[in-house]
Amino acid sequence: MLHTLLVLGTAALLAARIPEVQEKEPPKKLPEFTLKTVEGASFALKYEQGQVVVEQNKESSKPKALFIHFFQPDCNLCMAEMKALETLHQEVSKQGALIVGVAHRHDEEAVRGTREKLKITYPLLLGRGSELAAQFSRGDASILVDAQGMLRSSQVSYKEGEEKLWKENIERLLAEKDLAPAAAKREKPLEVGDKFPAVKLPSLLDGKGMSLAVEDEKLTFRDEEGKVIHPKAAVGFFSRY
């Protein structure tokens, strides 16, 4: 488990990073890249005025959410994940989300075979030897980035049913408006004195337990019965399993 402990004040915030990760972390922002699709067309991701722009088949689009799956055609989990992603693609592509697969170890023929076998219609890119694959692939791995190219979540491997969470996360990005400017700025580590940002989070425990929000510039916890707690100080812990 990788974690960072933050000590938060109600008005000011003190942060102390505890470096526990020795391996190289993927970048927080998706870099620009150009790759070939399995059909031989060019697929380019660029930034224009801080926004992600995707150019493919001589057409450009500005996805609000971009889900990238790094896969291998000889990996059973990858195949299961790709089937789930194809279903998800059918559901969210018209809303402004883009799902892309990047083959990071295999050649065109193997990828084409996979596409035909699974009837994949979202773009499959040939990423073997690419900088993108080197930075983000961990075998079977996925990342979700927002309209500014910022990494919003990532995962390694796949468990059946996880696509429900992906859909929720994608829909959350599609619904985001006011968070976009903040997202574009968050490349620097947290500074002492930074205010806790506007936020509204549900309890993790199936909707039971406290909710967290910033109301009237106060860190506000609300229990199941609606009782409001304004703590004198708070300790926050961000957990990645």
Partner: protein
């Protein structure tokens, strides 16, 4: 996270609020451990939120 439970029990009465935010996809693991260990401090779902990428480095 177990240490935070002790911290929570010791200082809650003094006005300290301890909380955790899950920031990746494997939230079921966190739910499972939370129930097994009977942790009582607040735990939130922060997957995909801007907050997670602003504050979680690990």
């Amino acid at each position: 996270m177990g240490h935070l439970q002790k911290f929570h029990e010791k200082y809650q009465k003094d006005g300290l609020q301890v909380f955790a935010i899950g920031v990746n996809e494997e939230l079921d693991e966190i739910r499972k451990v939370t129930r097994e260990k009977k942790w009582t401090y607040a735990i939130f779902n922060g997957v995909g939120s801007a907050l997670a990428t602003q504050y979680a480095y690990g």
